[in-house]
């Protein structure tokens, strides 16, 4: 597990390059109460994080902020070293292409084949069909669905859909992988296999953030950091999420 700040040495000093920074971030929907408040934390490049907390704590809302589906109502969010607080709508797709998302309900396009679903991020990024064919076949084989490439989501089992969703999330080698309750719809064996996929990706340098209730999943991932959300706020009694220890430097 990398689990560390990735930085560069400049004249003997370490320059931190956190992949995500949340400063005093708050979020409310419409005129309702804040569902997230005073979020102050940083995610290390190459780290593995579990986001936990009771139902309604705001895990999904926090993930939406992280994968840029939602803007905060206050505070500052920086991703990949760039402050996105005032980023225009037209700038966001560029950042979204660097983030892979696995939704709890998969969100596959029902009328597209597994191949086309996995190929979607590459095609949106402008890849040619020649550039798409090889990596998509390889990715489908990696998630064990090489023989189901032409199947449409309604004909796939829950586990197969989950793996298509993961393949789609990682096909363009995202710098951050966000997964919302990825084991919520699969059996324990499949959950273990998914975790293996995530740790493999993390080993390749991807920062992984997994929202889960699954204690077994967390305990099976030594070295992963836990971000606990309670009542819309991050529980960080030691302040280590806000100010990571120098020992974590890579």
């Amino acid at each position: 597990m990398r689990g560390a700040w990735q930085g560069a040495r400049v004249k003997g000093r370490i320059v931190l390059t956190p992949i995500a920074e949340f400063d005093s971030v708050g979020l409310r929907y419409g005129t309702g109460a804040e569902v997230l408040r005073d979020l102050d934390f940083r995610l290390a490049k190459g780290g593995f994080y579990f986001l936990t907390g009771p139902s309604g704590a705001g895990k999904t809302s926090l993930l939406k902020l992280l994968y840029l589906a939602q803007r905060p109502t206050r505070g500052r969010i920086a991703l990949f070293g760039e402050d996105l607080t005032a980023a225009s709508r037209d700038e966001l797709p560029h950042f979204r292409r660097r983030i892979g998302v696995v939704f709890q309900d998969f969100r596959l396009v029902r009328h597209l084949s597994a191949f086309d679903n996995v190929a979607l991020p590459l095609r949106i990024a402008g890849a040619s069909e020649q550039e798409v064919e090889g990596p998509v076949r390889e990715m489908l084989a990696w998630v064990g669905l090489a023989d189901r490439a032409s199947a449409r989501p309604p004909t796939l089992s829950g586990g197969e859909q989950q793996r298509v969703a993961i393949a789609r999330a990682v096909i363009n080698r995202p710098e951050i992988l966000v997964a919302d309750e990825p084991t919520g719809n699969v059996d324990s064996d499949m959950a273990r296999r998914l975790l293996h996929l995530f740790t493999s990706l993390n080993g390749l340098g991807t920062t992984v953030v997994v929202a889960t209730h699954d204690v077994g999943l967390i305990s099976a991932t030594p070295g992963a950091r836990i971000i606990r959300l309670e009542g819309g706020a991050v529980s960080d009694p030691t302040g280590v999420l806000k100010n990571p220890l120098p020992a974590e430097f890579g």
Binding site: R89, P93, R96, R97, V109, L112, L120
Partner: protein, 288 residues
């Protein structure tokens, strides 16, 4: 410029719909048909008005009461300076013409009908002197400009032209409104796909191109279909013009009119595509 139209098969599969699915092509076909019929009527009226106006601008008539001394009067007119194409219309011919409109009353001797001399006026003609000379031969004779007699008819024709133009604009507006509704309906139908596309980094323009292309194809097919039916109807009308020709003043369509009509489907397709693009972009920016 038209790269969005020529997309790859995978891009075409994204919306999961086939061309001609939904009401848009049919709506546009009906609109195109209506616009072409109204536009053809307006153009034919414009042509008729122009022909009548041009024909009447230099055309005059000398009215000879009771048709007396028509031959002498015709001689006087023909010998006058600046007068060309002078022709006599005897009283009997006038009565025959009237009979078509008035029935037997038109040939009744109780109805006073003048004889006419029609002529074109060129440079150097003195109409007052001409009228005086004709009146000296046939007392009560008057020279009348055709444009004055046809003034109310031309005014009516021009009013009809404007009505046709307003109708074409209104139908075009209705077509645009229908496209906006169709585009918004399509956005709602494909909301889940759009959310996925946005989530993995698609730009608004990329999403818009999908809908723009679909509506462009629907509009092209619909407008060509509507135009084809309109062309058949117009050809049938033209075939019956021998019957209606006299009633409608021999209204015909010239080559430029036909070109204008042929451009209507293309114009409507362009309008629909532009409206769809604008509506989808605006909706994406507001709703998402």
């Amino acid at each position: 410029m038209f790269g969005w139209f020529f997309t790859s098969p995978p891009e075409r599969r994204l919306l999961g719909t086939r061309p001609l699915q939904g009401p848009t092509p049919w709506l546009i076909a009906i609109m195109t048909f209506s616009i072409m019929i109204v536009a053809a009527a307006g153009l034919a009226l414009a042509g008729t008005a122009q022909r009548v106006s041009a024909g009447a601008s230099a055309r005059y008539s000398a009215q000879i009461p009771n048709g007396d001394k028509l031959a002498q009067a015709l001689q006087v007119v023909r010998s006058s300076k600046g007068i060309a194409e002078a022709e006599a219309v005897p009283e009997q011919e006038m009565r025959k013409t009237l009979e078509r409109w008035l029935g037997p009353a038109g040939v009744s001797s109780n109805l006073p009908v003048p004889a006419l001399i029609t002529f074109d006026v060129g440079a150097g003609a003195d109409l007052r002197a001409l009228e005086a000379r004709v009146a000296a031969i046939a007392p009560g004779a008057k020279v009348i400009a055709h444009r004055e007699a046809l003034g109310p008819v031309l005014k009516s024709l021009r009013a009809l032209q404007w009505i046709a133009l307003v109708l074409v604009i209104l139908l075009g507006g209705a077509c645009a409104a229908a496209v906006v509704l169709a585009a918004k309906g399509a956005l709602d139908t494909h909301r889940a796909t759009i959310d996925v596309m946005h989530g993995i980094g698609a730009t608004d323009v990329q999403v818009t191109h999908l809908f723009q292309r679909k509506i462009a194809i629907d509009a092209l097919i619909g407008s060509i279909g509507g135009a084809a039916i309109a062309a058949v109807v117009l050809l049938l009308l033209a075939a019956t013009s021998a019957f209606a020709g006299e009633l409608i003043g021999g209204a015909t369509l010239g080559p430029i009119d036909l070109l204008v009509l042929a451009l209507i489907p293309l114009a409507l397709t362009t309008l629909a595509t532009w409206v769809a693009r604008t509506a989808v972009l605006a909706t994406l920016r507001i709703a998402l």
